[in-house]
Symmetry: C2
Subunit: 606 residues, 2 copies
């Protein structure tokens, strides 16, 4: 900002007046031809100023929208006299009369485009320095600058709309659950640290020195205790915390729609959830969803899509073709634990360069490379086509339904890698070929998740969902005999390839919970020390119960079509978990640390 | 619990069955004569079992209420056969037929008292050990035992009802604010520590070693930034945190209804708040409040009631009588900075012993003792009546409107002490004489609070409300000339002598905010370091704004008539800030501390 502009803004401060007892009569998105002649009072920000024919025109902006206000020397000379000071983002209150805009000057794209307000009296409520970026939907400022001036970024209509819609979604959720007799019950933020799951944020206790609270990763245990208490149907839109290394779409604190019900099975939880999502989409987007949503088992999802949250807006399925190549001369396939293929119809147009990009992409998922075959009219074009027998080609053609012009991508190796590499490549290919329809909401229940997954770091089985998830009926013995095969009473709700919710039927019996901890490798003492109170609660008449939790931030991202989770959180943290606006976290005083009996270790510099 | 009972409960576990696909048709507070003949499915807990005439009667309880179910060998022999195992708090699901109770057996005090359900089929869903205390409204167990088994305590109908009403209050607040176009916007929990105000809870950062987040004492700064961002009308029902030594009615985490509005003055905030409280009382208690509420200045409240949150359900005012005693022979009064009196009509019946109890009581507030005079028909009875001249007596009689049978209590000394001692004694006296009407809700706005109060510990003026509160128009100069005299644009909402809400019009201008920090003794550097981002925000077109915050816990306490704040919080902490149920806070692992670069100092043992 030049010194000259700064001086002007400071000089204009002398014109600032207190609001006094002025009261707004309308928002800036309300007036139309029905209000012609009315005396109104509007307040807001100068979006734009235009001087024309001795008049000063201002687009006045508030959260709701824009209204054109006119300072005219003929209409009111006093009001016009000082209006020349007005600059972008100045704050003002105006009183005036609503008039029809002159012929040819109406603006059909604006709600208030038929009218303008002739100003009879006004007050300058505040000045504004030149903003570091323009307050408009298209902004080219860096994200860091926008986060530092978050209060200006939030003035951009696109971002402001996200919070209007987020509010609507939250109220929609509450009304729906209220009608179904759910109680919103608040659970503590200062809770107990448990070693299972992600890393806790800790809060040192001053009153109980040397002790720590943990911020909740979810209210899981409290909501189960509420079921034991007979609260029957609980929900909460609740803040949760995970001290993990942040990925692009993660925040250290996030919001969950947390729901638990007593005396229910999977179907009842899912039906309630379908109603909830349908209500939100109706209220927020006026979109009617069709329930019940499609169900798919985890095993089916992995087989057909390679991932547990398939985007079913487009077809493009994977197919295991291991057996075709068992005797092949192409040894990479013949020896592989699994060979999996994805046929891309009419994908043969891909250039070598594009295939190279895909090859780099799949390496993220542990692939060594990306095998491919283009089906030409006269030949199979591929680095390894020469190793394939006619029988193998014939078999592939039938199995995959090949046609001239297709390309096939392959992965060979460990099943996890094959699925992950091809399942993620599937999305890239779909983008390349514009296979993803817009404005389509494909909901999918993924069911019958494994109870356990093997944690290679910890060299033990850990709970796939969490250790309070019930095993499927009749599979108890299998939990120790063949943990990898056991299925949980767990389900995820997937929307367009994003997991927006997940839940399960819970264990509600001490013996089963003890058995679960045992299967997870806890000693009896460890289990008792960490979760003894929960297991004891199960001995006093715990009802069968289950629930689901939705990621509120993710849901609002999808509702608003936002590219980043930071666009739907008012004051988000960066990927380094800092707030660029307030400068948190920050150093604290020696006295604060002494009060908590803490010392800092010497911090290693990166 | 005897071993025998334990054995029975364990033996009964063999009868437990999975819920399967059974679905409840009704709650336990729903069936009446209209349902006669219907086949229903209920689920709940055994509140009570009675065997009579070969039948087994169970009062089945859920959150909603009770229904009598009957196991009859004539109706269904199979269902009756194993019903003898049922014990208190066992969990069951029953299917059966609704019948009218026999003549003379109906219970008009129960919603379902006309009917009973004859059981055709049932499942034992869980057993229960003998509970450490009875699940009923009257409970004589210690609070610590009840907190340890909170999930059982919450089964007591009285406590469960508190959470049903708390939920209703929260939804009522949201609907009201939603109708007024407020947006619920979530603000961060991981924020920046600031030295002003109460002690922060700190959260060490792992990613930014040596740095700390603070949990918010209120979202004050974020809500002001939302106003700068043009969000216009914000609210949030939000968790706040204060690491203070706990009093009986405080919790380390508490919930606030937090509201902020742009382009408003005090009256508009107060009118909105009156509407909000009226809606909540209507929705929760079906009580119609009369708005606008009475207004009283802070100075008037202190003069008449000695406190800034007077209980106006009863009269009993204080009166300053300093001038009457200026020349008195009673030197304690003559020399005192202030002499204040409270006449208790017909209070002369108080015994010497009762007066002694009051004398001890006022010492809590720094009083040395409690002077009193009983007005008898023939004499003024008092330890110091002999020092009073006839003129002084005459003057007192007229000033206080004395009548035979009254007692007067006096305090002499510093005004703060006089007010505090008599103002609090006033409540004790009111209780003693049953002056407080039941089921009366007296709302009162206390206005024109001082901007500053002197902090004797820190030997400086601190903000009475908080440092973002605007000074009253025209008093800027007085802020430095005579800080004690300056009034703030701050207001509290008082209900029956409890502060349930407080707010103010805020500073929205950099120069004024800087001036405020200067008046509070901040250096420019300190102010910039802590609040520079806020003051910078004020330079980019901050609108005039103000707001209010209600203590949700306190409000629900008053709505439910609960004696303790712990009765309206699902999982409260003790006065030592511990959770007796989950055993938080607790020790954490060396690895967790190492991840955070923290060491514990050696903890001093008490």
């Amino acid at each position: 900002m030049s010194d000259q502009i700064l001086d002007i803004q400071q000089e204009h401060q002398q014109y600032i007046e207190p609001l006094g007892n002025w009261v707004r009569t309308h928002s800036c998105c309300e007036l139309n031809a029905n209000n012609i002649g009315a005396e109104v009072c509007l307040m807001g920000w100068v979006q734009f100023r235009r001087d024309h024919g001795g008049l000063i025109f201002i687009d006045l902006r508030d959260r709701a929208g824009l209204t054109q206000v006119v300072f005219s020397p003929d209409f009111n000379a006093d009001a016009h006299k000082t209006a020349h000071i007005l600059r972008t983002e100045y704050v003002l209150a105006i009183k005036g009369v609503v008039r029809h805009r002159p012929d040819g000057m109406t603006n059909a794209t604006m709600v208030t485009g038929e009218v303008e307000v002739y100003v009879s009296e006004w007050k300058l409520l505040n000045t504004a320095k030149t903003t570091p970026f323009q307050i408009e939907d298209r902004v080219d400022a860096s994200e860091n600058l926008r986060l530092e001036y978050r209060y200006l970024d939030l003035r951009r209509p696109k971002l402001a709309r996200n919070f209007i819609l987020r509010n609507r979604a939250a109220q929609s959720v509450r009304r729906y659950l209220d009608e179904l007799n759910f109680l919103e019950v608040e659970t503590p933020c200062l809770t107990k640290s448990t070693p299972e799951g992600a890393r806790d944020f800790l809060v040192p206790s001053r009153v109980n020195q040397g002790m720590f609270y943990a911020l909740p990763q979810s209210p899981q245990i409290f909501k189960q205790l509420l079921m034991v208490s007979g609260m029957d149907r609980y929900y909460q839109i609740v803040r949760c915390f995970r001290d993990e290394d942040l990925r692009a779409d993660r925040q250290p604190e996030f919001t969950q729609i947390d729901i638990e019900m007593s005396f229910v099975d999977e179907l009842q939880v899912q039906t309630m959830a379908e109603g909830l999502v349908s209500r939100v989409f109706k209220d927020c987007l006026d979109v009617e969803l069709t329930a019940p949503f499609v169900r798919m088992t985890y095993d089916q999802a992995m087989a057909d899509y390679g991932v547990d949250k398939p985007d079913t807006r487009f077809d493009l399925k994977l197919k295991e073709v291991t057996s075709i190549f068992r005797e092949s001369e192409f040894k990479v396939f013949a020896k592989a634990e699994m060979v999996k293929a994805m046929r891309v119809p009419a994908g043969g147009e891909l250039s070598r360069k594009e295939i190279d990009v895909f090859t780099e992409f799949v390496k993220i998922y542990g692939a060594q490379g990306l095998a491919w075959i283009k089906i030409k009219a006269d030949e199979w074009q591929s680095p390894f086509a020469k190793f394939l027998s006619d029988a193998e080609k014939q078999n592939l053609t039938e199995t995959l339904g090949l046609e001239v012009g297709d390309i096939i991508f392959f992965q060979a190796g460990a099943p996890d890698m094959c699925n992950s590499a091809l399942g993620n490549l599937r999305l890239e290919v779909a983008k390349r070929f514009n296979l993803i329809p817009e404005n389509t909401f494909n909901f999918l229940w993924v069911t019958d998740f494994p109870l356990f997954e093997y944690d290679a770091d910890e060299k033990r089985y850990v709970a796939c969902h969490h250790p309070f998830t019930a095993v499927q009926v009749g599979q108890e013995a299998l939990m120790k005999e063949d943990p990898a095969k056991v299925k949980a009473r767990a389900y995820d709700l997937v929307l367009n390839g994003s997991e927006i919710g997940g839940g399960s039927i819970r264990i509600h019996n001490r013996a089963q919970q003890e058995y679960m901890f045992d299967a997870l490798g806890f000693t009896k003492e460890e289990a008792d020390k960490q979760f003894g109170f929960l297991m004891e609660a199960f001995e006093y008449g715990a009802p069968p119960h289950g629930g689901i939790a939705f990621g509120m931030d993710r849901l609002v991202m999808l509702l608003t079509g936002s590219p980043s989770i930071r666009d739907v959180i008012a004051f988000p943290k960066t990927q380094k978990a800092t707030c660029l606006l307030t400068d948190a976290p920050s150093e604290v005083s020696a006295r604060q640390l002494r009060d908590l009996s803490l010392r800092l270790r010497e911090v290693k510099q990166d």
